[in-house]
C-alpha cells in the first residue's frame, strides 16, 4: 500500500477530510467535521495524520482555535484571549495557522489583524503586540474579506526572521523574533496617489510564500488593481530577492494578474490561480486552471484542471490551494463553488474529487510514511 496522503478542506460550513491510500489515484471522503463552524485555517500535524489544529469562527459566536488528536472525533478548543479581557480591536476570525521552528511553537494570524504565538502546541496563546503597535496601525484599512493577517512565514534557518502579510495593508518583516517590525512593500503599486500617510499601509497583499531553499527569496500574489491611480495596469505577481525589502513583477506571461492563492514546492515549482479581474473573480472562460513556473517566474505554463463536466465560473480563495510535499508534488485547490481539484504530478494531470462542498476557504495536504 502506498503511503497515505490526507487532504483537509475548510469551508464556510465545516471541514472535510479526504484520504488516498493508493498513490493519490483515488480518494475517499470522511464525515463533515464541525459542520456549523466556518473553518478558515487548518494546520495538519506533519507526523500524525489524525492530529490537527483548525481556526473556527461564526458570525454570532466568535472565533477560537480547536485541536483534534483523533481525526475529528473529539475536539478541544482554546480562545486566543481570556474572556472579558479588554481589547482594542475585535477578534472575528482565525485566518492562518503556521508552525514555528521550535518544539510546540505555533503562530496564528487573525482579524482584526494581529499575530499570536504559542509555545505549548496551542494550549495557550499570547499576542506579539509589537506588530499591532506599529506606527502605521491607525492607517490600516480592511480588504473585502476584513482586516486579516493571512500569511505567516518563518525562516527555517533563522527563526528570528519572520514575515507576515495583512490585507489591505502590506508586508511586515522582523529580524529580531517579533520585537520590532518594518513595512516592506517597496516596488508594489500603491492603491492611491494622494500622498497621504495611508499610502504606506495600503497594499492589498493576497498571499506571500518563502523559498526555503534560497535565502532571501519570496514570492507574492498581489491584488492587481485593474488600473492603478496613475492609469496603468497593475501587476499582480511579484518576487523579492532581498528578503522582502523590494518587489519586482514577474507576471508578464500571465493572461490575468488578479488571483488569491500561491504555493511553492521544495523543488521550486510556483503555482498561482489567475482569475479574470478584481471585478470578475472567476476562471477565464469557465475553465479552471493553474499556472506553473519552474524558473522563479521568468516563464509560466498553463495547466488546465480538467475534470469539470461543465463550465466552472467560480474562483479560488487565498488559502484554498496546497501541496502535499511528495515528489512529484501533489497540487490541490478548492473553489468558491465547492469543487476540489487534485493533481498527483505537479499539475500536469488533474481530476475533480468526488464531492461538492460548501464554499472552500482553505486546503491543506500532508503525506505520511
Amino acid at each position: 500500500m502506498a503511503e497515505p496522503v490526507v487532504l483537509w478542506v475548510g469551508t464556510v460550513k465545516g471541514a472535510y477530510r479526504f484520504q488516498s491510500d493508493d498513490g493519490r489515484r483515488s480518494w475517499r471522503i470522511g464525515e463533515p467535521l464541525l459542520p456549523e463552524w466556518r473553518v478558515d485555517a487548518i494546520l495538519p500535524d506533519p507526523a500524525d495524520p489524525d492530529r490537527l489544529h483548525v481556526g473556527t469562527s461564526h458570525e454570532a459566536f466568535g472565533a477560537t482555535i480547536r485541536e483534534t488528536r483523533d481525526a475529528g472525533a473529539t475536539w478541544t478548543q482554546t480562545p486566543l484571549r481570556p474572556p472579558d479581557e479588554p481589547a482594542e480591536h475585535p477578534l472575528t476570525r482565525i485566518w492562518q495557522l503556521a508552525r514555528g521552528t521550535g518544539r510546540g511553537q505555533l503562530y496564528a494570524g487573525v482579524a482584526d489583524a494581529a499575530l499570536y504565538a504559542s509555545d505549548d502546541d496551542g494550549a495557550s496563546w499570547r499576542e506579539i503586540d509589537a506588530l499591532t503597535r506599529h506606527p502605521s496601525r491607525p492607517h490600516w484599512h480592511p480588504g473585502n474579506g476584513g482586516l486579516c493577517l493571512h500569511s505567516i512565514l518563518v525562516d527555517p534557518h533563522d527563526p528570528r526572521r519572520m514575515w507576515v502579510a495583512i490585507s489591505a495593508v502590506g508586508v511586515f518583516g522582523t529580524t529580531d523574533g517579533g520585537e520590532t517590525w518594518e513595512a516592506w512593500n517597496e516596488g508594489l503599486p500603491p492603491m492611491t496617489m494622494t500622498g497621504s500617510p495611508d499610502e504606506d499601509a495600503m497594499f492589498c497583499i493576497h498571499k506571500i510564500v518563502l523559498d526555503e531553499t534560497r535565502r532571501d527569496r519570496l514570492f507574492m500574489q498581489f491584488h492587481a488593481h485593474t488600473m492603478t491611480p496613475d492609469g496603468k495596469r497593475s501587476s499582480g505577481v511579484f518576487r523579492s530577492d532581498d528578503a522582502g525589502r523590494t518587489w519586482t513583477a514577474i507576471d508578464r506571461e500571465l493572461p490575468h494578474r488578479f488571483g488569491f492563492p500561491m504555493v511553492l514546492s521544495p523543488e521550486g515549482e510556483l503555482f498561482v490561480a489567475p482569475l479574470v479581474s478584481d471585478e470578475n473573480r472567476v476562471f477565464d472562460g469557465g475553465r479552471p486552471a493553474v499556472w506553473r513556473s519552474k524558473d522563479a517566474g521568468e516563464s509560466w505554463q498553463r495547466r488546465d484542471a480538467v475534470g469539470a463536466e461543465e463550465p466552472v465560473f467560480t474562483g479560488v480563495l487565498r488559502d484554498a490551494m496546497a501541496l502535499d510535499g511528495r515528489a512529484p508534488t501533489g497540487v490541490y485547490f478548492g473553489t468558491t463553488g465547492g469543487d476540489v481539484f487534485a493533481s498527483a504530478d505537479a499539475g500536469d494531470d488533474w481530476r475533480r474529487l468526488p464531492a461538492r462542498l460548501p464554499r472552500v476557504l482553505c486546503v491543506r495536504a500532508a503525506a505520511y510514511a
Binding site: E36, W37, H58, E59, A60, F61, G62, T64, W75, Q77, T78, P79, R81, P82, P83, D84, E85, P86, A87, P90, L91
Partner: protein, 92 residues
C-alpha cells in the same frame, strides 16, 4: 440563590462537556452571567464580547421571553427559571 437552568444551542455544547443544559446558582441575570464566565470560560468567549457585553448576534431568553439587549444585570431570577442562549436569526 436559586438554581437556574441554562440551555445551550447544539454548536456550543462542547463548552459544557456535551450537555445541552446546565444548572447554575443565580438570583439575578448578572450573577448568572458571572457564573458562566467563572465556570465555563470558553462558553463565555462565544457568548460575550471582550467588553463583557452580549455578542451582537447572541440573544438570551428568560423562560422563553426575550431579554432586552440593554444590560439588565438586576433582572431577578427564581429557582426553576430557564435561561436560553440562542443565535439571533440574522442569516448565515
Amino acid at each position: 440563590m436559586g438554581r437556574v437552568t441554562l440551555e445551550l444551542p447544539r454548536m456550543l455544547r462542547d463548552c459544557t462537556d456535551g450537555r445541552s443544559a446546565v444548572e447554575i446558582e443565580a438570583d439575578r441575570l448578572g450573577t448568572a452571567f458571572a457564573a458562566i464566565r467563572n465556570r465555563w470560560p470558553v462558553l463565555a468567549t462565544h457568548v460575550f464580547t471582550e467588553a463583557g457585553e452580549l455578542r451582537p448576534h447572541v440573544l438570551v431568553l428568560h423562560n422563553d421571553r426575550l431579554v432586552p439587549r440593554a444590560p439588565r444585570p438586576e433582572l431577578p431570577l427564581s429557582a426553576g427559571d430557564r435561561l436560553t442562549i440562542v443565535q439571533a436569526v440574522s442569516g448565515g
